[in-house]
């Protein structure tokens, strides 16, 4: 359960977050929709305690990331817009490293790596070094790292970019399984089809403000537009407004 109440963040004169409020429930996949520059990255960084907010409150299972960032991070899987792979380490060594950083070790860790590898269908690259991996292979490794320590919360920044059809299906499968286990998943994405197919809840942010929250159907009903993409555009503002 992630609860965000009127969070604001200012860098110099730039208001990156001007008041973001939402709650993402356990056992649901929540989409985070917003045009580029809406403040998604800042929001995610604030959630893991890398940035300090100026105003408002954040509670992740009741814990404030500003007060106890390590406890929050132990319970979060964070997939950034960068994969963060090490070219000179094999996938297994990479996963071992992050597993150990999250307090895992021994046979439990080994078993969990095999589990995750199977879930994401990446057995073939487990013993290979990351140099020369394709985009799809890279994101799989990064995803495996995100899921490794069985976090209760997942913050995913465009997890399906660069994946082929088979891998996208595998990813969707994995996310559904996590939802069934009761995880709280927040997924920033630009693919509307994914939102309609996968997500239970949608948060729309624009220019650092929450514009709307609700299920895809609710958003369509509220705007009176049947198509989610058009509904999103109307919520964010005019098309010209986005371009500017």
């Amino acid at each position: 359960m992630i609860e965000v109440q009127d969070v604001r963040k200012q860098f110099g004169t730039v208001q990156a977050l001007g008041g973001v409020s939402f709650s993402a429930r356990d056992g649901q996949i929540t989409a985070l929709l917003g045009p580029n520059g809406a403040g998604k990255t800042t929001l995610l960084r604030t959630l893991v305690g890398l940035l300090k907010r100026d105003h408002g409150s954040i509670a992740i299972d009741g814990v404030d990331p500003e007060k106890d960032p390590l406890a929050v991070r132990r319970n979060i899987g964070f997939l950034t817009d960068q994969f963060g792979l090490y070219e000179r380490l094999s996938t297994r060594e990479y996963l071992n490293y992050f597993g150990e950083l999250n307090g895992m070790g021994g046979p439990t860790l080994k078993q969990r790596i095999d589990e995750v590898a199977e879930l994401l269908q990446m057995d073939d690259i487990l013993e290979r070094r990351a140099k020369g991996f394709s985009q799809g292979q890279r994101i799989k490794v990064a995803l495996a790292r995100t899921l490794l320590h069985r976090p209760r919360h997942l913050l995913l920044d465009e997890p399906s970019r660069g994946l082929d059809v088979m891998s996208t299906r595998a990813l969707r499968h994995a996310l559904s399984a996590l939802r069934a286990e009761g995880c709280c998943v927040i997924m920033a994405t630009h693919v509307m089809q994914e939102v309609t197919q996968l997500c239970d809840d949608v948060i729309v942010i624009a220019k650092g403000h929450t514009v709307a929250q609700g299920s895809p159907d609710e958003l369509c009903r509220r705007t009176g537009i049947a198509n989610l993409e058009d509904a999103f555009v109307s919520l964010v503002g005019t098309e010209e407004g986005i371009a500017a």
Binding site: R45, K52, R73, T80, Q82, F83, G84, E100, G103, G105
Partner: protein, 394 residues
Amino acid sequence: MRPKFLIVFQKELRETLREKRTLALLSLFTLMYPLMLGYLLNQEIKRATKPERDGVEIAVIGASQAPTLISQFKQRSITVKDPGPLDEAGISALLQARTYPAVLRLSDKFGENYAAMRPARIELWYDSADENGKRRRDVEDVLEAYGANVASARLLAHGVSPATLAPIQVQRFDTGTNASRSAVLIGSILGVLFLPVFICGMSTAVDSTAGERERRSMEVLMAQPIRAWELVVGKWLTSATLAIVGVTFELGLAHAILSWLPLEEIGMSWSLNWADLVMVCVATIPLCLFAAGLQVALAMNAKSFKEAQSVLSFVMLVPLIPGVVVSMMELKTATWMYMVPMLSNQTLLREMAKGIDVGALPFVLTFACSALCALLAVGFASWRMKSERYVLSV
């Protein structure tokens, strides 16, 4: 559970050891430098000991006109060869071939002028670019002595005491012992002997901070349940370990080579034993820690590998400055020198090479001052990594 910084340390070390560039640098500086040093000193020794075995050989054109002079050369074990009449170009060619340190040419009228007691001319040809200055001076000494002898004999024949020609008498005393003369030479060698401290760990320090930032994996790492100082310490220790290993091997090899060479032959001394060397190596560990800490603290602020590298190669020159200043101003060894990192290590090794018993204080100061600087550097790096401005620019 293992401490987090050890996990980071282990991963960084594994990654580093897989990188060929780092290993090449390490082996280059641990092996090449002592070997090069040994080779150069060995050449020096060979040159210095050569004259005693072979004697000097000079060419004298028109030697038959001055048999007494020639016999005096022979007494001083200077062999004389007569190459026959030569012009200037021929003499230059002879000198350039480096077979003779000097060529003497007696003018055709030498014998005639000598007999008539007019100054008889001898031309001394030499190449000042050649390094045979000492042997040339031997030749000049013989010429001078010969001239003085002849003058004395002529004065005596006129009933004048030769002592009138020598109003003063110069006697030379050289107080420079082998050890103190070697201080200058050893001092310049030592300046560079500790350089691997700053080189061996550099590429790791850069790669694990600026490199990680450039590859955009730093943000992921910082979002893990690990404190900023644990990350910094892990990376710092990796870089320091390489520096420690590198400089210890290099000092060991340099010590083996310097003790094996007959350094007395060129007026140098290396009076260290292996126990002394171990002490020096231990006192150098904090310098490695400081160098690594400084490199991590600086490199983490650079946005790319290249930027960090150019900043660091510039900063690497800074620790050499105190050593250069001290030797330029010819300062006497003082206690404060043991408080300046790098300079302290150079001073310590120099004093010990001279065979001076320095006592415990210099070791303690050398150790403690570098250790303090290392802690400051790591503290700064940790503080910097925690700051929001750093997170934003990652």
